[in-house]
Symmetry: C2
Subunit: 313 residues, 2 copies
């Protein structure tokens, strides 16, 4: 299997990207090869410096970089030889099995929509994020930012996408799906969440457990938590900031340490025809490594085929 | 000054309410008298057991109770001799200066709208909540649940209401006002938050600092953080759950301990013609005491007159 990494993506690229790729190559030895995509001048010397470990990685040149602050759609279309555009070309051509980047999130989304495209039947793909659970390892929360506003039908589909991911990638049998809301009762929330509640409840493909309040995010009420990208993005960033504040105060605990984004490394885009993962801009080598391992697990699970089969009907 | 308390409100009423009232009476001695409202049979014996301290509290009977699960508007209208309805009657009549309850939140809101009413010019009052700040003591977040959906004009007004509260009750000169959003840039978010951003920016009564991301909730970027009640409610409950998990794990720290709702005791309703505060259902005596002290501070600050003057123009 081949897992591709945007070597130019992230605040500490290419150094952190290459270092993370080397870690992942060791971890995935015998199972997958890491393919680095980026500017030759920047990446080659780092690979050479790593000796035989560096030589074990594949390298594909890309002359351009999409910067963090660039307009995603414009940059993606204008920079067809950027590391992100080249990564998606490889993915579309079937030359790699997953593509990961800690670069421009919007460009990663736009790239997915323009190249591998949304799975037929999926209204809008979503970005999923891992949520630490008190008893189990992780649950997932989606959408965390691809769609600020969501129609009820989109929220319903996020429930299906998240449920499939939890089942096939996280290995949770019959995952419990919950809807973020301001009260437990069925009639709570906005007209949108009320309608989404009814759709999720009636959906035969998922095990819907009802509304999930802010206080139930980390307990065992639901494995898959569904919300619009506005709410999800704010929840996610707040949770991350809590970990950072604890870390600064040197408060550590096995549960709260799972809030560290480095532990999972990236957020999969669900509902597209291939495996793509978006990493944190600040990704460290450990985060990059875990993102690549997650990319491998995702590709290995066959989750995309499961999603295609579910939305075909 | 007289601060009224619903003695029947909250999961541990009337015991926790009376115990909290006794604490507050001590704290506010010489400045305010606590007025307990509730069922004679339930409250009198507790006051008698407290001896002279109990005798120093005033008591107003109310024969009915609005239960936590009751439909707010229906219950408020049907139970005109409930402790919440009697509390608002005293407030409207000017017999007390603030009314606090840890009972049915919806009934507290409905009661406010039916009796003391919204300040003319205020589209919809909001519930505000205290937010722990890393450097300063607290900022405030509003709305946290009175209005699940908010028009841009409502979010703008929340900025004004919160700014006045921060200034007159928290003593923050020129409070910084921020808008919860999924990115810092002006154009980010839903059409609603984009429009609210422009209104807040143009408002001459406040010091608007722009969008606030989930990660900036607890730092010094803003003293007043504005959002719709859906988002605010979920943020608030998630923050509370984090404190609870830390507390269970016996992780304590001066900053994170400020996440304990007991430290502030309640959430003021802003934009009504009087001082009303809603407490947590699980309120302990300490929480009740702090809610009453907050009620005193609010009444003492003259915040309602400031709000009336601002919205008159």
């Amino acid at each position: 299997m081949k897992i591709a990494l945007d070597a130019m993506g992230g605040d500490f690229a290419p150094q952190a990207a290459v270092a993370g790729a080397l870690l992942a190559a060791e971890e995935l030895a015998g199972r997958a090869t890491i393919v680095l995509i980026g500017q030759e001048d920047a990446v080659r010397p780092l690979l050479q410096a790593a000796g035989p470990a560096g030589a074990a990685l594949e390298f594909v040149p890309a002359t351009q970089i999409i910067e963090m602050a660039e307009h995603p759609a414009k940059a993606f279309q204008q920079k067809q030889d950027s590391s992100i555009a080249v990564g998606y070309k490889l993915l579309l051509a079937g030359e790699v099995d997953a593509f990961c980047s800690a670069g421009n999130t919007g460009a990663m989304l736009v790239g997915a929509m323009f190249t591998v495209k949304a799975v037929p039947g999926v209204i809008r793909p979503a970005i999923a994020n891992f949520v630490p659970k008190l008893k189990d390892k992780f649950g997932i929360l989606l959408d965390v930012g691809a769609n600020a506003e969501c129609k009820p039908e989109m929220l319903e589909q996020f429930g299906e996408l998240g449920s499939l991911y939890a089942q096939y990638v996280l290995g949770i049998a019959e995952p419990k799906v919950g809807l973020v809301n301001l009260g437990e009762e069925e009639g709570k929330g906005t007209p949108n969440t009320q309608a989404a509640h009814q759709l999720l409840k009636a959906n035969p493909h998922i095990h819907f457990v009802g509304n999930i309040e802010g206080r139930d995010m980390f307990n065992e009420k639901a494995d898959v938590v569904v919300c619009d990208g506005f709410t999800g993005n704010i929840l996610l960033k707040m949770a991350e900031s809590i970990y950072e504040m604890m870390d600064k105060k040197q408060i550590h605990d096995p549960f709260f340490d799972k809030f560290n984004y480095e532990a999972v490394g990236g957020s999969p885009i669900l509902g597209i025809n291939d495996n793509a993962i978006i990493g944190h801009g600040r990704s460290t080598p450990l985060a990059i490594c875990n993102m690549l391992v997650q990319g491998y697990n995702m590709a290995d699970s066959g989750i995309v085929d499961q999603i295609k089969a579910t939305f075909k009907s």
